[in-house]
């Protein structure tokens, strides 16, 4: 897929609770085909603490409106500056990057999309994409507390949503991987994105139950296009760049202790 560098215009930037924001961007030029699970490299600005671009997963892509949504957690200087962008301001992106999630061949599969915290971001576009292509995805979303459960209504547009919070403030209490849904029903395919320990737990469950499972990784990177070789993950084929060979991997490819 051809990659583009271009300026996008901020359409909306909405704060969500204390630590998150939803940034809606509009393309000034062409809107390239975008697959669920792909990401963009964002140029924040030229401050000394934000020298490199920031890789951010695509939360939602709307080709008709030429809109791209990014769901951002304010954790450092770069993400804080992104959260302060005002409508009309420009943002330079390299887009689209990486390989996305795989789409099953047959429609009658039970697909479960498991997200943890802000890591759930790419699952919205995946869910929408699956639904549009005739699948019936379900979402299992976990977070520390209610305030970290993001966009659950938006997810609801594309399938059933099951929730878990560590403090029990919404949905079942406990880790997402302890949710009763996983005991009750066995999915045919799992997609997971979130903190590494959570993805590891999902991968273990998947391996145990012999369910095919894909995870989306977030290794630190510089270029995003396979040149710097910094974002490598140790796979069964050796070290590979997650920016070009991922960020989505089938757990069978990885050397995780599952």
């Amino acid at each position: 897929m051809k990659k583009y560098i271009s300026d996008w215009t901020v359409k909306e930037n909405t704060s969500i609770h204390a630590h998150y924001c939803l940034l809606k961007l509009v393309s000034g030029e062409t809107f390239p085909e975008t697959l669920p699970g792909q990401f963009v490299q964002v140029r924040v600005d030229d401050s000394s603490a934000t020298f490199l671009r920031r890789p951010i997963s695509i939360h939602f892509a709307n080709t008709a409106d030429r809109e791209l949504w990014l769901l951002i957690q304010r954790i450092g200087k770069g993400t804080r500056k992104l959260s302060e962008l005002k409508p009309g301001q420009k943002l330079n992106l390299i887009h689209p990057l990486g390989k996305g999630f795989s789409i099953p061949d047959t429609k009658n599969k039970r697909l479960l999309l498991i997200g943890g915290g802000v890591g759930a971001a790419p699952l919205l576009y995946l869910g929408a994409y699956l639904k549009e292509n005739g699948f019936q995805p379900a979402f299992l979303l976990g977070a520390r507390s209610e305030k970290d459960l993001l966009q659950s209504e938006e997810f609801g547009k594309y399938g059933d949503v099951y929730l878990a919070t560590e403090d029990g403030s919404r949905g079942e209490k406990g880790f997402v991987t302890a949710h009763s849904l996983l005991q009750r029903e066995k999915a045919d395919f799992l997609y997971a994105c979130g903190p590494k320990p959570m993805m590891l737990a999902v991968a273990k469950y998947a391996a145990q139950q012999a369910i095919p499972c894909e995870v989306s990784l977030e290794n630190s990177m510089a270029c995003g296009i396979g040149a710097c070789l910094c974002c490598v993950e140790k796979t069964k084929k050796g070290n590979v760049c997650i920016c070009t060979e991922g960020p989505v991997f089938n757990i069978n490819q990885l050397t995780w202790p599952i």
């Binding site: 990659k3 000394s48 671009r53 290794n219 630190s220 296009i225 710097c228 490598v232 140790k234």
Partner: protein, 304 residues
């Protein structure tokens, strides 16, 4: 339109802008963003005799106006390069230069000999300055004797233009440059990365798996510029300057300091089209200031 042609040994460049090894892949990674024929050349990533897996993750840390890396020469080896990469890039309309690295003199020579046989590779950049590999090139690059030894051996083995990439982690880089010039190097390129470190204070451990790594980006530019200045006054062979170039203004600084050509490294990650823009900016600067060729600008400072 000024004349931007520059010669480095037998290597002819249409303009003085090269991309630095390890920052531009094999060029193909950037083909979506720019026309590679617009720059003087692409120096492809460090190639070794045998395949190397490189260092463990994490390999990167962002620093003020720069970054640390500890890739450790990950590559599939020279035979893979010849069989799988070379056919894809041999017909690109720019100079493809291969950066050759190794752990022993024998490896350097064997790898360089294989590259030396490739018709469409006009030059080799010999990396004697990789800070991220145990018994890697930097052991050769930090003493005159070590540098001489490896350059002498490789020079015997290859007739192509031989550029030697120098380490800045030394007391006197000009002495090293003189040593490799004496052994027949056609050019020196500098600087490779400065050895640095970053610590995660919440985890209380080094950010990089290798503890230390190589620092690059605008933060190193003043050091690189000083070393290019010192080296270009110490040797007769052309000096290729690099270190923190992020725009044409930086490139002009390096050329004024004495560089015959320049390389763009880390900034390719921030703006994948920067190398094309730098060439255009140098050209406009030359026109605006009445220079007929970029050669006239090399070392053209009023004093110092």
């Amino acid at each position: 339109m000024a004349n931007l042609n520059i010669d480095i040994g037998k290597l002819h460049l249409k303009n003085p802008v090269l991309t630095a090894s390890g920052t531009f892949g094999y060029g193909t990674e950037y083909a979506d963003f720019m026309d590679l024929s617009r720059i003087g050349g692409v120096i492809v990533k460090g190639t070794t005799l045998h395949p190397r897996e490189g260092n463990d993750y994490p390999r990167m840390a962002e620093t003020p106006s720069g970054m640390l890396n500890a890739v450790g020469l990950q590559n599939k080896g020279v035979d893979f390069f010849i069989s799988d990469i070379y056919p894809q890039i041999r017909d690109v309309d720019t100079n493809i230069i291969v950066n050759v690295s190794g752990s022993t003199i024998e490896d350097y020579v064997a790898c360089a000999e294989k590259i030396g046989e490739l018709e469409k590779i006009p030059a080799i950049e010999l990396n004697i300055s990789c800070p991220n590999v145990k018994q890697g090139g930097m052991a050769f690059g930090t003493t005159c004797a070590g540098a001489s030894e490896v350059v002498k051996a490789v020079r015997k083995a290859v007739r192509k233009t031989l550029i030697v990439k120098l380490s800045p982690n030394v007391t006197d880089i000009a002495e090293i440059a003189k040593a490799v010039e004496a052994e027949g190097a056609d050019s020196v390129s500098l600087i490779n990365t400065l050895m640095g470190m970053a610590i995660n204070i919440e985890m209380r451990r080094p950010v990089l798996s290798t503890v230390t790594g190589g620092l690059s980006g605008p933060c190193v530019k003043p050091v690189a510029l000083r070393m290019v200045y010192q080296t270009s006054r110490a040797v007769k062979i052309p000096v290729i300057g690099l270190g923190g170039i992020s725009g044409w203004q930086d490139a002009v600084e390096f050329i004024l300091a004495g560089a015959t050509a320049i390389q763009i490294g880390t900034y390719n990650f921030i703006d994948p089209t920067v190398s094309r823009k730098v060439g255009e900016g140098i050209n406009a600067y030359l026109d605006r200031n009445g220079f007929r060729s970029v050669g006239e600008l090399v070392g053209a400072m009023e004093r110092g």
